[in-house]
C-alpha cells in the first residue's frame, strides 16, 4: 500500500504547520531570521491621533505598515452601518491616551481559552498599568504587522510571551524616560506602579496619561535595551482576573461571528451531500426561489477540496427563518459516484483483521528487540478502539462575507470566527478568484476576527468561510451571512478520527516494564490519489499517532511502533489535543493493564517508567502538540508525585469509591490526574472528583487557568460517552438529542494545582484534557475489574448520566 507515514505533528493541516514552523523560528531567541519577521527588534513610536503614546513593536514592515489605517476593530454594529474607519495605528500593541486610557492589542483569536485577557495581563504587568485603566482590543488581521495570528496547539502564550513582555516594558521605559527628562532626574530614581510614574526624593508623580504625549516624542528602545521584570516583582501575573469581555458577554453585546449584521445583508444556507464527495445532480431550485423571503437559490460546483468548497445548493434569503424554512423544502438528487461510503462497521472489521497479522505495514519506531523481550516474559495483549467524535462548538459554523465588484480590482471582506484567520482569508480569496498579489497575499481580501463560540480545533478548517465568500460572489456581490444549522454542523464536521491499536507489553519478574509493541490502525485520505509521502489538503488529520517518539517510545528498553492505514473520505481534523487525546487514553490505559498484571501500585510503576529514559530527548520544543519532544521526565515525576499526595492516592476512600491515575505530556504541558469514581449496578459511572496537577511554567491568569482545567476534565468525561456513527458515508447523529454532550449534573469536583516552576510558560487550551479520560477509565477498572478498551464507554454498557 502506498501510504502516508506519520511524522511529528502531521495531524495539523499544512496552514498551521507552516505557522508553527515560523513561530518556532521566531522563538529561537534574538538571532535574526529571514523573512518578514526578521525585524523583530524594530520598535517604533508615534503620537496617537489625539496625542498620546502609540508604541509599535516588533514585526512590522516599518513605515509602510505604520501608514496603514485600520477599520474599527469592533466590526459592524447590529442593524447599523459598519463601524467607520478609526484613526488608529495598526502597528501597535500599546496605546496610551492623554486621558490615561491604556489600550492593549491582542493579536490572536479568542476561542474561549482566555487569550485576550492573558495577553493584556502580560503587557499590563510589564507596563505597570493599573488594570482598571486597561482596554483590550482585538488586533486587525495583518500578519505583516503582527506575525502569526492563530489559535491552535496551545501556542499563543509560548509564542507571544516575550514579544508582549517587551512591548509592555518598552512603553514603560519610555514613560520613565519622559518623566526623567521633565523632572531632570536620573531614570534610576524613578519608579512606576498603577499607571503612575513617581520620583520619591522630590515627592513628584505624574500619570501615564499626562506623560504619554511627551513619551511619544522620544525614540523607542530596542529589544536589547528593554529590561523585563523579575518574577518576584509581578503584580498581575498569576492573579485571578475576570475575563475582559465578561461585562459584554453577560449583557449580550454582539461579539461573535454569528452576531454580525450588515446593511442589506442576506442570510444563506448551504446544503451539501450527506455523504461527503457527492455532487448535485438536480434540485428543485425553481420551487425554492418562489418561497417567501427567498432571494436566490443556486448550485455551486465547488473545487473538490473538502477544506475549501464542496458541491452544494445555496439558498439566499432576506432573513434566517426564510432561509431555514426554504432549506426544509429543498429537494436535491445527489450523484454519489465519488461520495464517501465509509462505514464504521467495515472499518472495525478491517482493523481486527489487520491486528491479527501482528505488526503493521509500516514501522515508525524501533528500539531494542521486542520479540526477543516477549519470550518467556509475562505479557499482556489488548486491542483498543475509539470512535469518531464531533467538535460540536456551541456557536455553529458561520461566516459573513461580502464580495465587492470594483473596477480597480474586486474585493472580499469577511467577518469570521476562525482559528487561523489568515488561512481563512486566503482560502476564500483564492476560491473566489481574487488577484493574488505578491507572495499570494491577496491584498484585496480583508478578514475581521470575531470572538469564537468554541474552537476545539474545528475552526482550524475554514470551509464555511470559503462557502460564504463563494455564495456572496454568486449572489451578485451582496453581503451574505452563511449559517450552518446544528444538523449541518454535526454532519459536516472535520471529526476527531476514530481509530484502533493492538498492543502487546511485557514486564519482568520484578514487575518492571521491559517491552512494548503498538500497532496503530488508522486512516489516510480517500480523496487523495494515493499521494506518496503527502496528504491532500483537507485529508485525514488527527487519525494517526502524535509522533513516533510519543511516550513510552523513549522509556522502554524494547519498543516497536508500526501502523497500517486504510483510506476513508470522512473529513477529519484537529480536535482539542489532537493525536494526544486518544494516544493518552490508549497508552495510559495499557500502562495500567501492565502494572495490574505485575501486581504493582500504579503510581510506583509509572514513576519507575519515567525513571528509565533510554535516550536524550529527540527534539526539543515540539510546539504543535504531543510527541516525545519536550517531555521532561523530572517534570512528569514531580506532577505524578504531587497528584498522589493531593488526591490521597492509596488511602481509604468513601465506600464504593475507586481511584485511577494517568499522566500525559502534550503541548508543552505536563499533567498528572487522579479520578475518583463510583459505578452503580447499572454501570452508571459517577465521577466524584478529579485531582489535577499540572506544570506549564508560570501561570498568567489563575482564574482562567483553573477554568480551562475544570472544562478540560468535563470535556474529557463527556467525550468518553460520545461518538458519531458513520455508515454509508453518512453521519447518524444530527443534533444534541442524539449527540448528548454532558450536562451540569455530571460535573465533578475538580481540584486544580499548578506546580510553581520556572520553565517558559505554555498554553492551557489542550494539555489538561488527554490524561483525564484514561484516569477515569483506570478508576472504572478499579471499581469493576472491567477494562475499558472501547470508546465510547457506552459500547461496553457503561453510561455517565
Amino acid at each position: 500500500m502506498n501510504s502516508v507515514i506519520n511524522t511529528e505533528n502531521e495531524y495539523y493541516p499544512p496552514a498551521i504547520l507552516e505557522q508553527i514552523a515560523l513561530m518556532e523560528r521566531e522563538s529561537q531567541g534574538s538571532a535574526p531570521v529571514t523573512g518578514p519577521v526578521s525585524r523583530r527588534n524594530f520598535m517604533k513610536v508615534s503620537a496617537g491621533a489625539g496625542g498620546g503614546l502609540v508604541l509599535a513593536f516588533g514585526l512590522g514592515l516599518g513605515e509602510k505598515a505604520d501608514a496603514q489605517q485600520a477599520p474599527g476593530p469592533g466590526g459592524p454594529r447590529p442593524g447599523g452601518a459598519p463601524a467607520a474607519p478609526q484613526p488608529i495605528n495598526t502597528n501597535a500593541y500599546v496605546r496610551i491616551a492623554p486621558d490615561g486610557r491604556i489600550t492593549l492589542v491582542s493579536k490572536n483569536p479568542e476561542i474561549g481559552q482566555g487569550i485576550k485577557t492573558a495577553f493584556g495581563i502580560i503587557m499590563a504587568e510589564e507596563l505597570d498599568a493599573k488594570w482598571s485603566d486597561v482596554t483590550i482590543e482585538q488586533a486587525p488581521i495583518d500578519s505583516a504587522t503582527y506575525g502569526q495570528q492563530f489559535a491552535g496547539g496551545s501556542t499563543s502564550i509560548p509564542s507571544a510571551y516575550n514579544t508582549l513582555r517587551n512591548a509592555g516594558a518598552a512603553a514603560r521605559a519610555m514613560l520613565v524616560a519622559a518623566a526623567a527628562k521633565q523632572w531632570d532626574v536620573p531614570e534610576s530614581e524613578i519608579t512606576t506602579s498603577e499607571s503612575v510614574v513617581r520620583h520619591a526624593a522630590s515627592n513628584r508623580s505624574l500619570t501615564y496619561g499626562a506623560l504619554a504625549t511627551a513619551a511619544a516624542a522620544l525614540p523607542a528602545p530596542t529589544t536589547a535595551q528593554v529590561k523585563v521584570k523579575d518574577r518576584k516583582d509581578w503584580k498581575l501575573m498569576g492573579k485571578r482576573i475576570s475575563g475582559f469581555d465578561n461585562p459584554a458577554l453577560v449583557t449580550g453585546k454582539p461579539l461573535f461571528g454569528v452576531d454580525v449584521q450588515l446593511p442589506n445583508m442576506k442570510v444563506a444556507v448551504y446544503e451539501k451531500c450527506p455523504a461527503v464527495g457527492g455532487k448535485v445532480a438536480s434540485a428543485n431550485l425553481d420551487e425554492i426561489r418562489k418561497l417567501p423571503g427567498v432571494v436566490d437559490a443556486f448550485i455551486l460546483e465547488g473545487n473538490g477540496q473538502v477544506a475549501a468548497l464542496m458541491p452544494g445548493v445555496a439558498i439566499v434569503a432576506n432573513n434566517t427563518w426564510a432561509a431555514l424554512s426554504a432549506k426544509k423544502k429543498l429537494k436535491v438528487t445527489w450523484d454519489e459516484t465519488n461520495a464517501s461510503k465509509d462505514s464504521w462497521t467495515a472499518l472495525t472489521a478491517f482493523a481486527k483483521e489487520a491486528a491479527a497479522k501482528g505488526a503493521g505495514l509500516q514501522e515508525l519506531k524501533k528500539v531494542g528487540d521486542v520479540d526477543a523481550a516477549f519470550q518467556g516474559a509475562k505479557t499482556v495483549e489488548a486491542f483498543y478502539t475509539f470512535g469518531f467524535v464531533s467538535h460540536a462548538t456551541l456557536e455553529p459554523q458561520n461566516t459573513t462575507a461580502w464580495y465587492q465588484k470594483d473596477p480597480a480590482g474586486d474585493k472580499l471582506e469577511i467577518w469570521g470566527s476562525v482559528q487561523i484567520p489568515d488561512s481563512a482569508r486566503t482560502a476564500a480569496a483564492n476560491v473566489v478568484g481574487l488577484a493574488a498579489g505578491e507572495r499570494r497575499n491577496f491584498p484585496n481580501a480583508t478578514l475581521h476576527q470575531m470572538r469564537i463560540g468554541g474552537g476545539f480545533g474545528r475552526r482550524i478548517n475554514n470551509e464555511y468561510a470559503v462557502e460564504a465568500a463563494a455564495i456572496s460572489k454568486q449572489a451578485g456581490g451582496v453581503p451574505v451571512k452563511l449559517m450552518y444549522t446544528r444538523e449541518d454542523d454535526l454532519t459536516h464536521d472535520f471529526y476527531r478520527a476514530g481509530g484502533f491499536q493492538a498492543l502487546k507489553g511485557a514486564v519482568d519478574e520484578k514487575g518492571k516494564l521491559t517491552a512494548w509493541a503498538g500497532h496503530v490502525i488508522s486512516f489516510n485520505d480517500g480523496f487523495a490519489a494515493a499521494p506518496p509521502g503527502g496528504r491532500q489538503p483537507g485529508g485525514v488529520q488527527g487519525g494517526g499517532w502524535p509522533s513516533p517518539n510519543e511516550f513510552p517510545a523513549e522509556y522502554t528498553p524494547n519498543y516497536r511502533l508500526t501502523q497500517t492505514l486504510t483510506p476513508i473520505k470522512t473529513p477529519c481534523g484537529p480536535w482539542r489535543a489532537p493525536g494526544s487525546n486518544t494516544a493518552a487514553w490508549v497508552v495510559q490505559s495499557f500502562m495500567h493493564e501492565l502494572s495490574t498484571a505485575a501486581k504493582r501500585d500504579h503510581a510506583e510503576f509509572l514513576l519507575e517508567v519515567f525513571g528509565q529514559k533510554q535516550a536524550p530527548v529527540v527534539a526539543p520544543g515540539g510546539f504543535g502538540g504531543g510527541g516525545g519532544g519536550g517531555l521532561i521526565p523530572e517534570r512528569a515525576v514531580a506532577t505524578i508525585k504531587a497528584v498522589v499526595e493531593r488526591s490521597g492516592w492509596g488511602k481509604p476512600l468513601p465506600k464504593g469509591h475507586f481511584q485511577g491515575l494517568a499522566f500525559h505530556f502534550s503541548h508543552q504541558g505536563h499533567f498528572a490526574e487522579v479520578a475518583e469514581v463510583s459505578v452503580d449496578s447499572k454501570k452508571k459511572v459517577t465521577l466524584h472528583k478529579m485531582t489535577v496537577v499540572g506544570d506549564i511554567g508560570p501561570i498568567v491568569n489563575m482564574s482562567s487557568a483553573e477554568n480551562q482545567v475544570q472544562g478540560a476534565v468535563i470535556d474529557a468525561f463527556s467525550t468518553l460517552a460520545l461518538e458519531v456513527n458513520i455508515e454509508n458515508g453518512r453521519i447518524k447523529e444530527q443534533n444534541f438529542d442524539t449527540y448528548k454532550l454532558a450536562r451540569m449534573p455530571i460535573a465533578p469536583v475538580v481540584d486544580v494545582h499548578f506546580l510553581d516552576t520556572t520553565y517558559p510558560p505554555t498554553g492551557l487550551g489542550e494539555p489538561a484534557l488527554p490524561p483525564a479520560g484514561p484516569a477515569i477509565c483506570n478508576a472504572i477498572y478499579a471499581a469493576t475489574r472491567e477494562r475499558i478498551r472501547t470508546l465510547p464507554i457506552t459500547r461496553q454498557g457503561f453510561s455517565i448520566a
Binding site: V250, S325, A747
Partner: protein, 159 residues
C-alpha cells in the same frame, strides 16, 4: 404574513413575520438586532436561546413569535436596568464564569428565573433547573458557584 406587535424589554415593536412558525429567536436576532440571545440547536436541546416570557424561561428557538404576542419578553439585553447589572450578571463576572461565552446568555436567563423561584437553591436544585442549558466548554462548576453567590447577594439585599 401579517405584522405583529411584540413587547421586548419594555418596548413595543412591530415586526413582519415570514410565516406563523417564525421563531421568536430569529425575530429577536434578525429583525430587532438583539443578538445576545443565541442559536445553538433549533430544537430546545441546548438552552442558548433562553429568554423570559412573562418571567418564565423559554426556548425562543422553538416558540413561534406569534405565541409571544401580548407577553412581556425579556432578553439578556433587558436584564440590567439603567446600566446596573443584576446580581446574577455581577456574579458571572466576579466568578469569571465564561470561557467562550456563547452559552452564557442562556445560562444567565435560566439562572435568573431559578433565583426568582427559589431563594436558596441547593446544588441538586441548581443541577436540576440548569440541566437544559449546555455549556460545551464545561463551565458548570462556576455556574453553580455563581448562582449560589448571586443568591446570597439577593438574600442579603432583601433582608
Amino acid at each position: 404574513m401579517a405584522k405583529v406587535k411584540l413587547n421586548v424589554n419594555g418596548k413595543d415593536h412591530e415586526v413582519e413575520l415570514v410565516d406563523d412558525q417564525h421563531p421568536l429567536l430569529w425575530v429577536l436576532r434578525d429583525e430587532l438586532g438583539l443578538v445576545g440571545t443565541k442559536f445553538g440547536c433549533g430544537m430546545a436541546q441546548c438552552g442558548a436561546c433562553t429568554v423570559h416570557l412573562n418571567g418564565s424561561p423559554t426556548r425562543s428557538c422553538s416558540v413561534p413569535a406569534i405565541a409571544a404576542v401580548g407577553q412581556k419578553i425579556t432578553t439578556i439585553e433587558g436584564l440590567a436596568q439603567n446600566g446596573v447589572l443584576t446580581a446574577v450578571q455581577k456574579a458571572w463576572i466576579d466568578h469569571d464564569v465564561p470561557q467562550c461565552g456563547y452559552c452564557q446568555a442562556g445560562q444567565i436567563m435560566s439562572a435568573s428565573a431559578l433565583l426568582r423561584e427559589k431563594k436558596n437553591p441547593t446544588d441538586a436544585d441548581i443541577d436540576s433547573y440548569m440541566q437544559g442549558n449546555l455549556c460545551r466548554c464545561g463551565t458548570y462548576l462556576r455556574i453553580r458557584t455563581a448562582i449560589k453567590s448571586a443568591a446570597k447577594a439577593l438574600n442579603g439585599s432583601a433582608s
